[in-house]
Structures are given as structure tokens and as C-alpha cells.
Amino acid sequence: MADIHKLAQMFKELDDQLVGCMRCGMCQAVCPIFKLSGKETDVTRGKLALLDGLASEMLTDPEGVNEKLNRCLLCGTCQANCPSGVSVMDIFLKARAIMTGYFGLSPAKKAIFRGLLKNPKLFNALTEMGAKFQGIFTKKVDDMLGSSCARFNAPIIADRHFNTLASKPFHKIVPELDTPAGASGLRVAFYVGCVIDKIYPQVGEAILKVLKHHGVGVYLPAGQACCGIPVLSSGDTDTFDTLVGMNVDRLKDGEFDYLVTGCASCTSTIKELWPHMYKGDSSRTYDIGVLARKTMDISQFLVDILKVEPKELAGGKSVTYHDPCHLKNSLGITAQPRTLIKAAGCDFKEMTDAGTCCGCGGSFNIAHYELSKEIGSRKADNIIASKASVAATSCPACMLQITDMLSQKGADMSVKHVIELYADSL
């Protein structure tokens, strides 16, 4: 193993950011992981202290630090509430990159990230094959939620109730699109994202329906790759650069006013992380900046730009809303999705703690399923207590997690993306 002194040198680069933490401990009030464990290593202050400890060579156990560092949802709640304004997400992502540089990527991640994500064609082919054969391995548990669980004891699946791969992914339904602006006079690029593409194609279809209804032209280039957040949160900055590059090259030639997505994580990744974390070919920097500025969550686009308004008479089905961390904490978008639900004529019911993380956290859910489940289970309790019949949200990853949690509790509700509700009302 490379020597620890070298590692310390790398962490010293974070020094200017680390000193910003005044160790007030206020992050204890908001961190979902700390709420469960009560351990200082699980809260931001502790994690920052560990990184500082490595940088100042007070610590000799980088593996231990890495393990604690990964017990984090990257939900950004701490950063949104830090009185000192510490750029926690930036520090954590950089620290993960340094750690991955030091320890290397696990063989499984290497295979998935570099073999699969970098190669969208292969990724698509494999998941399509998976969709055909998954019936053999899974059994239906809840028709309403459309969830399934593992038929055999597969360690990575555990007792999850997951949504299965769609039989026909979105890119098969709509491979590409380039339509002129209609009544609105606007054109948007549509970035699909892999969860919508492979698991919830109906969300992508709902978005197209809504855009068409409002007379918005759509630029949807084929061959979009993953936005890169999963690889970045695992510290794989090389693959991140490749994926960003692939996407930018697909998108930059289109003419459009905004870039919309239906995935909270994709939105915040394109808006904040692409410009900030991309270290690849600098000739792309300009386009990345332009794209980032144009990027919007679909409900934000509808409400802020197209001025969609709530319906006077609600009385439709009762709906509650979960704020995805990536919309609320990184982009401060909370009002627009609620407006959209009301615009769909639904009876909106606010749940307790709508803004706390659902516990998914991407690969966190895989590495720390028990923790993830405990956090998600509280979310599900709040959803059920709202007495709504539909749990809506703006992030397909949250939809997966919430579906799993509600299904495990046998809740009699459906999980929808807000755009599906709105599309249904048109």
C-alpha cells in the first residue's frame, strides 16, 4: 500500500475547507445517520475531524476513516443547515476521490462503472436481457406498488421489495426526438437518467406528454449516459469525467432554452457537480457551464417558466409529497412540486418531516441496507400517517426506496412521480 504520509499530503489539499468547520456540533440535529446511531463518527463534525486527523497525520488508520466516511447518504442536509457554511458535500466527494485513488476501486465497482456505465450500449443490452429473465428470480409481492422481491436468497437483494426492470425501457419507446417549439415558443432538452430509463419509463412518457401539451419542443438525443453521481460518490473521478464528456457531446449541439430532467439527483448533479467536479478535457468547460445554467427540474420548469398554477377546486385523490434531498438541500426546490400536485387537482396532504432523507443515498442503500431501511421505515411511517392514498416525489431513486419501504409495511398506497399525476390530469 502507498504510504500514509502521501495520503496525508493529499488530504492537506482539503485543509482550507476543513478549517471552516467550527465544530459547533449543530449538524447533530439534522443528520439522519446520527439520529439513528448517536455516534460522532456518523455525523459531519466527526467525519470532518477524521479527515483533519488524516491530514495532520494524527491518525494511522485510513481504512477506518474511509469506512466511516462511507457511512453517509450524501444527502446534503448538514451542509444546508451548517451555520459556518462549510462545503460539506464538496469535501466529502473530494475525500472519497482521494480514498479511491489510494485504495483503488473494488473489483465489482470497477466492473460496473468502467465496464458498464461507460458503455451505455452494453448497459442497455444487459438490462434488457435482465428484464426478460428477472421473472425467474423474483416474485410479485404487491401489485399496487408493482414491487417484487428476491425469489432466491441473493445477498445483494436481501429482503428488498424492489421495482423490477421495465419490460421496455424508455430508450426503446422513444429512442430520440427533435420537435419544434409549439405554442410556448420554447424548446427543452430532455435528460432522461438511468432509473427513469430502465425502471420507470412511464415517468419519461409523462414528461413528454406534458411538454407536448404545453407546446414545448423537445430535443432528446440518443445515447445518453448516466449523469455520473454514482461513480463520483464512489470516488471514481475518471469514469465521472468520461460520462460527463459523453453526455455533453450528445447535448451540446442541440438548440434549446432549458435542459429538464425528472430526476432530482440528475438535476443537482448536472447543475452543481458537472461544472465543479469535471476535470476532463477543458474544451468542454464552456458547454458544461451553459448546460448547468440551463438545467431545471421538470416541476420547476412548469411552475416557474410556464406558470402552471394550482387548481382552485381540488377534491381529487389525496397525495402527500416527499422532498428529495437533491432538490431540497442542493437546489432549494420545495414549492414547485407541491404546486404541480395541486395543479393536477389532487388534495394535497403535507406529511411530517417531508424534507428528511428517505435513506436511499444511491449505493449507500446497497452497502448499508440495514441503516438505509431504518431511515426509510420512518419515512414510510410518516407517509402512512399522512393518510394520503398516493406518495409522490420528484426523484426516481426515492421512488424505489419508498416503494420498498411501503411494500414491506404492506401499505395500501401507490408511489408516483409528481409529473405522472400532472400528466394524468391533462
Binding site: 482550507d16 478549517v19 471552516g20 467550527m22 465544530r23 459547533c24 456540533g25 449543530m26 447533530q28 440535529a29 448517536g38 455516534k39 460522532e40 463518527t41 466527526g46 475531524a49 477524521l50 486527523g53 494524527m58 491518525l59 494511522t60 488508520d61 477506518g64 476513516v65 469506512e67 466511516k68 451555520p83 459556518s84 457554511g85
Partner: protein, 461 residues
Amino acid sequence: MTKEAIIKEFEAIAGADNVMTGETDRHAYSYDAAVLDSVMPALVVRPTTSEALGAVTKLCNDNGLPLTVRGAGTNLSGGTIPHPGGVVVLTNGLNRILEINEADMYAVVEPGVVTAQFAAEVAKRGLFYPPDPGSQAVSTLGGNVAENAGGLRGLKYGVTKDYVMGMEFWDVNGELIKSGSRTVKCVTGYNLAGLMVASEGTLGVFDKIILKLIPPAKAAKSMMAVFPSMKAASETVASIIANKIVPATLEMMDNFTIRTVENFRGAGLPVDAAALLLIEVDGHPGQVADEAAVVERICKENGATELHVAKDAAERDAVWQARRDALPALANLKPTCVLEDATVPRSKIPAMIEALEEIAKKLDLTIGTFGHAGDGNLHPTILTDKRDKAEWERVEKGIDMIFDKALSMGGTLSGEHGIGLAKSKYLAQETSKGTLAYARRMKSVLDPKGILNPDKIVGAE
């Protein structure tokens, strides 16, 4: 006993999951919110029952292990920085509210209950627990008692000590000591519960605390007054009190803090103002209306150039948001932020403010001042970067000068943050050599092996 054997014993008492010996875990309990060097403990233990807490205390004593109790670790005086090779005892596994008695207006809690959560539970039952330190969203009631924490409502409602009716705590021999009661009046034996207030973990380990509750005020009114000088603002403070009005809150901000807060949130604060007073009166609706009118008049008489009375809950919240933003806004300016709490008699506030400005100029330091004007508790906040050695030396000198000044005016070293490690060296200066010797003698009898949070308050001998 060998180290391994001792760890086994801790595990037998608290459960293996609740004993942490790894380097990363120990490092995460080596600091608190004070700007001081961290010290790694040898072991961290998290008892989840009262009996385990007592047994852990005794085990430490039997083996001569220094013991530092830790609530949320938000104290600003180094009170939870462990002694080298010592044991950190966490209280966040002891976080049950055991009783809220509405008829007799008291509550019984374990020490790890978070202050704001407790206040919210109490409010749900139509009662009120006033102490509200700025850290209440995370601080623990045990930590509040051990520091005698105060808050924005200190002026009218007092501080934590005014709400401690009784207490049970473990002594070093693992005996449960009881003092005070559930009755409003109680003079049974020494006031040991009183002795535990502000003891910062040096005299006993709190197990259960009985807290007084009161009925909430029926109405409240908040206002913000703008002044052309700190002198005018502090004379207003004196005049309000002289007119026999005790506002629930009476907070002050200097120009530097006002400008910083405005940059931070852009809420429309008057950036040219030399000083701001944020005032809230509460009580019966009639009384509130009367008092608000008098306060308004006094502000104007003392030269307030603007006066803004909050019309509704949202405006009221905006007033307090400005005050809540003071620390974060200042903290954003520079990497290190040293929050002091030198306190002077109310009448000395103008002189103290002047002295702070002189110190800042003389040592070329950035100091923002805000604080609880109503009770003379100021928070001069020094902004610096502790990595800048030369400046840091000047900061340390500045702190010495601030305390010298406060003491020379009949003030005190700490209004609410405690002495801990940070200020133990000044203790004799405020009190006397004899006082320090008395305190040390008392401690040496109650804690003969000196295991309870060594070095804090009375210093190392």
C-alpha cells in the same frame, strides 16, 4: 488490571456495542466546540441504563481512570476534552423523559435528553421550559445543568439553575446521591443539586434531573430599534429596566455584526446603524400592550432613529432570525471563530463595548460584538485563522485583555459558557487564591483520586 481486562469489564457493564476503542472512534471524541487542541481518550463508553452509568463511574474510580462525561459536546470551554488516556462517558444513550407532571409542573429527565426536544414535549402539554441556549437543537439537559447554560430569555426567566429542583447523581464510589425533590420547597440536607449546577462534570455524574416548568406567557410582542451609537442603545437598556420593565429578551448587535448579518441573509437590516436592539415583551395581552408602548417611548427618548414593531408571527420570526444569524454570519467570515462570553454589570456595557473596540484596534483583530444586553452578557467574537501563528498569539493576548477589562468592571469570566480548560487560569483572578484552594479541597475530598473531569475549572495542580 490489564487494558484488555478493563475493556472486558466495560463491555460487561455497557454491552460490547457500547464500548469503543478504535482509533477513529476515539478521535471523534477528542474535541468539543471550543477552539483548543484535541486530546484522544483511551476508551469511549455509552451506558444506556442508570445502573450502567453508576457502574462505569465506579469502575473508572477503582482503576484510577480519568472520566469525562460528554453530552452533545457543544460546550465552548473545553469541558469535554478528555484527559490523556482517559475514558469518555457518553450520555446520549440515556435520553428518556421519565415524567412530565402537569399538575405539579415539573419534569424528570435523564441527562442525555436534548434540550429543544424536551422543550417541545413540554410545550405540547401546555407548559413552558424557558432556558434556550443557542445550541438547544443539540445540547443535552445534563450538559446544560453542568454548564448552567443560559439563553435569550435569561433576563426575565433566568438560566438553567433557576429550573433545577432536584437531582440524582453518581459519586465516584458508585453511590447514588439524591438531593432536592419534586416539591417547590425543599431544604432537606445540603443543596447538593445546587452544587452540581455549573460543576462541569468535576463533582459527580448526573443521572436524573428534576426540572421546574412554568405556564407560558399568553402574548408577546417583538420589536427592533435602530440607534446612532452603542451608547444610546445601552442607555436605552438601562432606562427600560429602570422603568421596571423586564423584557423576556433584550439583545444587542454592534455595527460590524449588523453588516455581517445583512451580507449573510440580506433581510434588510440598517447597515449604517451603530447599534440594534431586539426586544421582546411577553405576559398577559394587556400588560404586553402597555409595556410595548413604554418600551417604544423609551427607545425614542433615547434617540432611536427607527423602530419596527413586528405585526405578526412572521415578522416576529424575522426579528429573531436576525439575532440567530449573528453567530453563523460571523463564523462564515473567517476560518476560526472564538466566541467569548465576558459579562459585565448592565451599566458597564457602553464602557465594555468601548474597551473591546480599543482592544481590536490595538491588536489589529476583527471583533464582532453581539449579546444579551439585558443581562450584561456580551459575546465578543474574534474572527481569525488559528493557522496564522502570529495572529493567533495576538488573539490569545486579546482574550486576556478582554477578561482583565471585564473583571476590572466588576464583571465575570463567563456568563454562560463555563470555565472548563479555557478559562481555568483566570479563576483565582476573579475570585481569590483562597477560593481556589477551597474548591480544590472540596474536590479532593469528593473525588480523592481526581478522576472526575481532571483539569477543568480548578485547573491542574
